[in-house]
Symmetry: C2
Subunit: 117 residues, 2 copies
């Protein structure tokens, strides 16, 4: 699920199967936008919405806001702070991560979490 709109629609329809209030209209209303706008966002005919609206969507859908923000190409404050503190280092890291397979990244995350750093 590689883009914001598809992901949003998928999540909304999952919620909807359990709870009939997750129509485009209902969700848009609770989030505070027009249904036609939300519909276009889900189909990728609009750019992803503002961070405020994304946060509201995440809240209503009980989703991780960071994931939605990442999918929308809006980078979290944490990431910004890393970039600002060590830009060259970060650029280099990204260059390396680009060609790193999933299992390698997973191993890194595991090692870091287990305090090996």
């Amino acid at each position: 699920m590689s883009n914001f709109g598809d992901y949003l629609r998928k999540v909304r329809e999952e919620r909807r199967s359990g709870d009939a209030t997750f129509s485009v209209r209902q969700l848009a209303s609770r989030v505070g936008v027009e249904p036609s706008y939300l519909s276009k966002v889900e189909r990728g005919q609009q750019q992803p919405p503002s961070e405020k609206t994304i946060a509201a969507l995440a809240n209503e859908l009980d989703e991780d806001p960071d994931v939605l923000l990442a999918l929308a190409g809006k980078v979290s404050g944490d990431l910004q702070s890393i970039i600002r503190r060590r830009p060259k280092l970060f650029a280099e890291l990204i260059r390396q991560l680009k060609d790193m397979p999933d299992h390698a990244v997973l191993r890194l995350v595991r090692e870091v979490r287990d305090g090996e750093w």
Copy 2:
């Protein structure tokens, strides 16, 4: 040097000591913006400029565009692609990196570069 404007001014003044053509006016002219605008950007009174303008600045100042873009909070295409492909993984990695000391990140980069991954 933690923000775009300060960094830009520092680099420009370094170049200037060697070459008198690196005044605000001269650089702005070559980049194709107004000097007052460039001045405000350097002092942080304007948001960082567009990616196009940042690229032109990087070119004229012989700087790494990725670093300037990172400082400006504009994330590179490579990073976007990573985020889109593996958003949760990336969010987790960032959470870990946040508290990682410099030497740990450096070690990671070194290991990756040396093919240990």
